[in-house]
Amino acid sequence: MIETPELIAALAAAPAKVRRLHAPVLRACAWLGLAAVLVAVLALEHGLRPDLAAQLRKPHFAISLAASLLTGVCAVIACLQASLPDRSRAWLLLPLPPLALWLSGLGYGCLTDWVMMEPNMEDPGETLRCLTTVAVTSLPLGLALLVLLRHAERLRPTLLTLTAGLAVAAIATLALSLLHSIDATAMVLLFNLGTVTLILAIEWIWGRSALAWLSRRTV
């Protein structure tokens, strides 16, 4: 094992000038900007759902939409704040109130709707387009958020990764609600949080975090 004074000498030998990380809120804004661009591109390509104006007049839909947006915003701010060593992990509680509001609107009906949709699919193409929307929003946003969090790979990042998954799920649901006529919140949540759980399981088996892997490849 190298002696501590030698380690210090080695670390101090070439301290290249580093580019300081921007404030978490600024980085959260950049990520939300990317999300807005993605949703706008999808809206241009696919078009907004035809009954959007009518739906927005329904309190249930409007509250659900606002709650998912708020959950996404709070979750991304929370995980970026908590990823810094001098910030409290209590930040991770920030998305819980809007999440509770969002899930309270979800209810049991949505789960059963999703299950019932499978055998009686009137238009399988629409379901495929929904899945494409979820994938096209979730994958780039998820990857971008992991890149933004890569500096935290040595700070016990499991909860940060889970909160990042929640942020992505919330934004993907928002995109889905604006573009498609089906309410697939449960599906999107399961898709995103399932993916995060899968990543965490692989990390546990592999003994190495995805953020560490990303960190080696992007720094």
């Binding site: 501590t4 300081r20 016990r156």
Partner: protein, 193 residues
Amino acid sequence: MAATLMRPGPRPTDPSQWSQLMARAQDGDAAAYGLLLRTVTPYLRAIASRAHRNAADAEDSLQDILLTLHQMRHTYDPARPFKPWLAGIAQHRIADRLRHRLRRSAREVSLDFEHEALASVPAAQTGMDHRALHAALGSLPEGQRQAVLLLKLQELSLREAAASSGQSAGALKVAVHRAIKALRALLLKGDDR
């Protein structure tokens, strides 16, 4: 006047100076960075020693924290105090190491006297295996025996073995492959008997 001369200026080891030193380190000032690392080491060692009973573990932990500090130095915001940032890194790294240690100790069994006594039994077997191997080696053709001796027992590189034996590297590779195959057959036959 005397009082003014005697008044101590801000010491470099003063935690209020750490933030400035770190800001200069972020700008590439090697001297400031070295001074900062040396200055924070006793503080970090005290934190690590409270968490680990074993001095070597505490030192490992200290080095881990220093490495993480180095890796994350771009995340420090000079507008904020340095000590909570540093303490945060220390807390996370120590918690992570303790958790890994706990997980590892759950999978490991410490060796005690009985294990050592059992471990000494196969020593006699090792001697027998050794003799059997030498007998098997003796029955190999000269080229194959030489290839095994040079490449496997003396652990020479292919180039060194080729220079020493006068055989080409390709011929040595083939000879050692055939020798291992023949040895395996001979030793398995010996076991069956």
